[in-house]
Symmetry: C2
Subunit: 244 residues, 2 copies
Amino acid sequence: MLRRLEILPVPGLPEVGPGDDLAGQIITACLEGAADGFDPVGLADEDVLVVSQKVVSKAESRQVIVDPDDPLAHKPLVLQESARVVRRRGDLIISETKHGFVCANAGIDRSNVAPDVALLLPEDSDRSARRLRDAIKHRANATVGVIVADTFGRPWRRGLTDIAIGCAGLVPVLDLRGTDDAVGRELHVTEVCIVDELAGAAELVRGKSDGIAVAVIRGVDPAWFGEGSVVGDIVRHPTEDLFR
Amino acid sequence: MLRRLEILPVPGLPEVGPGDDLAGQIITACLEGAADGFDPVGLADEDVLVVSQKVVSKAESRQVIVDPDDPLAHKPLVLQESARVVRRRGDLIISETKHGFVCANAGIDRSNVAPDVALLLPEDSDRSARRLRDAIKHRANATVGVIVADTFGRPWRRGLTDIAIGCAGLVPVLDLRGTDDAVGRELHVTEVCIVDELAGAAELVRGKSDGIAVAVIRGVDPAWFGEGSVVGDIVRHPTEDLFR
């Protein structure tokens, strides 16, 4: 069946701080946030909410104070947050985080935060996504999928893209193996990582400097809703990996 | 400025064969293809068309005949299409193609084609995208961006996502370095690969088994239109690469 998707930015989220009720802030922004002549996005069953890792980390008090005058002050934190260093070149550290993500600087961020703050990834972004999903279900009566998105590089391609570091209520990888393709031939390897594609799509309306931390994707296939997690379903175990 | 995106599948493309006028087929499908009660998508200035590599390769006669009973019959082609083998495990070959893409099996495909056919990547997907863009401009009077998309794996994450292997009329990597973030702090490394995010977004409405080879993305920021190519702007040179 054909489906058309809408990718909708959600304006109106306040600056998020430690201990904030992020779910409540997101619900209010969806229901009341309007800008540039756009009506509020609303919240409906089968919406997918894509939420920036930054606001999740901020609400979960993942700020660490660092020397604002030292651009490398967060480097000890990178090692502390890593399970192993995968590659190193100059100041650049590519490591495997404790969650199993392979990325630069263990996902630690000093942009869009105060100069004396380094922001760590959430402890468990799948759990963060589940909590947001549960809160939205109970407080806004909407059954949604939630993705926590972060911006990662890729080894062989320039530029960054947003991917999912946590999700809830969604099947992260759609397994099409064994289904027939359009000419009746069995598809061999076609496991599509839809949550990464959804996270990237949301980035297109969020931008980096606009302060839009949430996007709603509407029109998603109902079959994509279900159980799963990023760490359980997407993160590749080092033994399956040819590049670590 | 806030923008909302629509991701629209384009039904009605016929089965594409060697030498077909793909641009004409796409224009007709956009203007006339309707299904499931959806009106035709149309074609407008500042649309982005995402076109599956498969139909581009088919129209460009990239079919090679192989033994239909040998599931590994395409392996010699993989080596022929590769500049170097990057990793090998059993039957799996990860190589750098002549274009510079690092992917499995040099992008050669045996799904969605006849059992005795292996389909090679286009010789130059950026050129393919430019030709489609020029044809659409001249024959449909619409100034669009074009992306040729293929499905690639990732070293550290399960599941595949669609990315751009060619593009025209678009700035492939948006360089936000030097612009201020939401708290006035300079963004250090924020080069966003929008064409990969657009390709992945389009996959969400194209699916794999539905035979929808084209999607239109509408609502894109006018600033994203410009010059660039995947091979020139995205493919990382081996000397910049820590993982080859």
